[in-house]
């Protein structure tokens, strides 16, 4: 079974500060292979160009929202296996249900703690190992 520390992450958020915080938290979890993208469009291009194992994604972004990125990933045969963890300030139940129905692997509302991120990433990675 793969460990989170072995995986390559893509952190997608239009706020550089938030990308840096998520990257820092992943680093503290031992995940050093982390890249960043500033919106869904940039992320999708990067996902098609390189191999990633895990996507941590905001929802409210310019150019291409997290929902659109999630749908694009799940609609692409080459990418649909990728787990997408939504990390967002969108707290409406409607958005959470939509994310789940669109294939999100998890949903975290901002502000969040390191423990929450660690718990969700670990849980998703365990599930990946179980289904691999």
């Amino acid at each position: 079974m793969s460990q989170a520390t072995d995986l390559k992450f893509l952190v997608v958020d239009d706020f550089a500060t938030m990308r840096r915080i998520v990257r820092g938290l992943l680093k503290e979890m031992g995940c050093h292979n982390v890249e960043e993208a500033e919106d869904g469009a940039v992320a999708l291009a990067r996902l098609k160009a390189q191999k990633f194992d895990f996507v941590v994604c905001d929802i409210n972004m310019p150019n291409m929202t997290g929902f659109d990125l999630l749908k694009a990933v799940k609609g692409d045969n080459m990418l649909k296996h990728l787990p997408v963890l939504m990390v967002t300030a969108e707290a409406r139940k409607e958005d959470i249900v939509l994310a789940a129905q669109s294939g999100a692997a998890g949903y975290i509302v901002k502000p969040f703690t390191k423990a929450t991120l660690e718990e969700k990433v670990t849980k998703i990675v365990q599930k990946m190992g179980a289904t691999a």
Partner: protein, 213 residues
């Protein structure tokens, strides 16, 4: 300006394009006049104008807030990175000197390793203290932006009031309470007062669990 001949306006000598029916212009003029009169009667026109004039100012204030908060976040994260490096250095040096003392206490002291360690710790803690001070000082953005936010909130409130008045008057009754569902709403300021949002991560997990996730 005086007009000598009113009919000159009604019947242009050489129109560049085929003339539209006179009734159309008449109707347009009437609608424009009614709209203007309605806005003046509602009392929103001068206030709306005043509020709209304030928008460029609000935009620059919001840019200021974005810049200040961004700078503060960068400063804090840089200081944390530096302090963590110092901390890692102290932890490693402590483990080394402990091993040296256990192995040969006399040699550890006589070789100066213990005193070097003490000096090292003193320097590192001083640098960490400076980083902590930087983090504290970076919070000054809160005071500065708080004042600016208050002004923007006042302006936004005035603009909202006037626009709502205008919308209520202009919208058909069946459309008045419709909400645009396509937009993303961002952070929820008052989750306790709403039933359509979650208040914390526990509620997210419960909702997802109820859906079988």
């Amino acid at each position: 300006m005086t007009m000598n001949n009113g009919s000159a306006l009604a019947e242009p000598k050489a129109p560049a394009a085929p003339a539209a029916p006179a009734e159309v212009f008449q109707q347009l003029g009437l609608i424009t006049r009614q709209l203007h009169d309605a806005l003046v009667q509602l009392g929103v026109m001068p206030k709306l104008q005043q509020a709209a004039d304030g928008l460029p100012d609000a935009r620059s204030r919001l840019n200021y807030i974005a810049r200040k908060t961004g700078e503060a976040a960068d400063k804090v994260l840089n200081s944390v990175d530096s302090a963590k490096l110092e901390h890692t250095h102290i932890s490693e040096a402590t483990r080394r000197i402990a091993a040296d003392i256990v192995a040969d206490p006399v040699k550890a002291v006589a070789s100066g390793a213990v005193m070097n360690f003490v000096n090292d710790v003193e320097s590192a803690t001083h640098r960490i203290d400076l980083h902590l001070t930087d983090i504290m000082m970076a919070q000054d953005f809160h005071d500065l932006t708080g004042q600016v936010v208050a002004k923007v909130v006042t302006l936004a409130g005035e603009l909202e009031d006037n626009l709502v008045k205008l919308l209520v008057q202009a919208a058909p009754p069946e459309q008045a309470h419709k909400v645009e569902l396509g937009i993303l709403h961002g952070p929820v300021v008052d989750p306790e007062a709403r039933s359509d949002v979650v208040a914390n991560q526990g509620e997210v997990d419960d909702l997802l669990a109820s859906l079988g996730f």
